[in-house]
Symmetry: C2
Subunit: 386 residues, 2 copies
């Protein structure tokens, strides 16, 4: 990043760690170039090892419940199909209206290829959603509920435990999308009684563009659920070359084809660094960063027509906030040109992602001041034009 | 690789190119670390660009028919489901008995989740298979035939054009697995009238362990076929964040989630180097290498109980050969310990992959001489023991 630039997109693509290049250089020069095919002895279990590392240090999962593999969409597909196939009398999948678009796409695709029905329930685009709205969407036909732990737009943080309990009371399973919470919000899947989860690693885990995603299946469900993409890495004794699929026991069966080794190694670096910092410290800085941004926005930006489009209570949000402004699209453009990298999110929101490991309080101060200056300028120009 | 070692596994994991590390270092230090989220402007189309580069230079595909994405298994799943969904009155998928095991697994999984039937037809494990055996398996119920272009075990090379024509005559589609032929055998999907293809990039394309695979869909089929994993990278104007899936036109819709960018860049290096060498030269050296290996095996190894388990005609094989020996498993072990890296393939075969870019005639000479010496020793020891 050029000197003086400010990065508010660590929630979209985390910055590379210094150790990432070192780890990949070693993997290419030693493991791949020297070890060659023999390195599969160490690579074979890598997706499970990195999965355990991630699961145990950041997700509150037990050993053997997480694997790093494929993309978030492919993992969501595998788990959602597994969950619905296991409950043939329940043909409805419920998804929050404001869930990340590609989660909708995966479920819509599943419905188009089957007799499943996708049902949405309303969500407040700024404040997140309320249990009673979800509750109205639940009935005896619901096999699965797909929810984001942290909303990609508002940053609203869901009550994982309460919601999981409510869905379980109606007999369904819950699949959590952890993309916007993993590595930045404390997660305890075991304590929450969570069933299934997926997430990406290129945001707060700094795994790099398109790094492999992860998936979680609660141990007791692993026997009962069967994912649909039967592949080489789910097979027992793969080098026996049996032509009949006999899946391994446990989370390994939720893998499909050959996993990206360089990708998994990059993920391992990100997980290690976040775990070293420790989730309590990471969360503390995250809350302080978003709170500081909200304070400054109130003081400097609300008078210029901005409105906080995220929960005001820091305990009810993740590590990004959104600011609504009628000219948000234009303002995001000039802000980026000015070296403050932020995201426009429809409708009419500037989204500021504050990655605790790499965002400073000075970044927040300077970035919001700059946004205020640009907005004032824009206001003056618009007024002069009218 | 340690000095003196010989690598006969370039058909399983190709060696890294010198430019791979350079390309990935640049991608991490410049594109990712400096460009950050802005680099998605150039990365967004990368899977399609590398797909075109691969398709046009090595597959005889037209522009817009190939994309680099996901793993071979996930791609096979997407295309096989797309092909069978488009032909609801045909419920049979035919697969060669000796196809790569994971191709079987993917199809078995599809059948377990639907009303599809998987039908196999016999293949000679050494010589490959005959059109009449396939023909017997074809009838009006067959939607799709899945075949390997080059057999993973024997190296037998299929007549892509003749077979495709035979299947088309019965109204089915053909899906070619190009894992063992891409980058080493001339392929002309357009001339062959091929429908669908998948393949990996970590063998003769030197993309690295778990590098993204590719898929091909003939242009005229792209409108008609709809793949089942509807994802973020198949969506029109993805950053409009529409919650309804509207796929892009063309091959892009066969993508699912966020693609591995480092993986695609490594693939681009491999494709570039093979294309620079030129497929005629690559094939010429490949034929010379396997022919030399067959000659030496006849002279040195047949007297020791080995038998060629690959087609003797070099035009009927890819770039690896298999040698049958009753103690192949044991001999492969001692051969590898001795620094000659080869593969054991059940039943009772040593497989020698001769990657033209990185295998020398001296490697073939020295490796086979060493195998002969070890086999003689083994024979003496076994005789002494009896």
């Amino acid at each position: 990043m050029e000197p003086g630039a400010i990065y508010f997109d660590g929630n979209s693509l985390g910055r590379p760690l210094r150790s990432t290049l070192e780890a990949l250089t070693d993997a290419i020069q030693q493991q791949w170039a020297q070890g060659l095919i023999r390195s599969w002895d160490r690579w074979r279990e890598l997706p499970l090892q990195v999965g355990d590392q991630l699961g145990q240090s950041l997700l509150g999962a037990c050993r053997g419940e997480v694997v790093v593999a494929d993309s978030t969409s492919v993992n969501l597909y595998k788990l959602a199909r597994a969950a619905t196939a296991a409950q043939p009398l329940r043909r409805v999948v419920v998804v929050e209206e404001d869930n990340f678009p590609s989660d909708h796409y995966v479920l819509q695709g599943m419905a188009a290829f089957s007799d499943l029905e996708v049902r949405t329930f309303p969500v407040d685009p700024d404040e997140g959603w309320h249990l009673q709205d979800l509750d109205k969407a639940l009935d005896e036909g619901v096999a699965l509920v797909c929810l984001s732990h942290v909303s990609y737009r508002s940053g609203a943080l869901a009550d994982m435990k309460g919601i999981t309990r409510a869905v379980h009371a109606r007999g369904g399973l819950v699949l959590w999308d952890l993309c916007h919470s993993v590595g930045v919000v404390p997660i305890d899947l075991t304590d929450a009684g969570a069933d299934l989860a997926v997430g990406c690693t290129y945001k707060y885990l700094n795994g790099g563009p398109g790094a492999p995603a992860f998936l979680y299946v609660r141990q007791e469900l692993q026997e009962r659920l069967r994912q649909p993409i039967w592949g080489w890495f789910g097979q027992q004794d793969q080098f026996e070359m049996a032509s009949t699929y006999r899946p391994v026991q446990g989370i390994g069966a939720f893998q499909a084809g050959t996993p990206s080794i360089l990708g998994a190694l990059a993920v391992a670096e990100g997980v290690r660094v976040v775990a070293e910092a420790g989730m309590p410290a990471v969360r503390e800085k995250s809350v302080a960063l978003t709170s500081y941004a909200v304070d400054l926005a109130e003081r400097w930006l609300e008078p210029l027509g901005f409105r906080l489009a995220s929960p005001r209570d820091p305990l009810r949000r993740g590590s990004h906030i959104s600011l609504h402004h009628p000219h948000a699209r234009h303002l995001t453009g000039v802000l980026i040109e000015d070296g403050v990298l932020a995201d426009y999110r429809a409708p009419e929101r500037i989204r500021l992602g504050l990655a605790p490991l790499t965002t400073s309080f000075c970044d927040v101060h300077d970035g919001l001041r700059r946004l205020g200056e640009l907005a004032s300028e824009h206001l003056r120009t618009s007024e002069a034009a009218t």
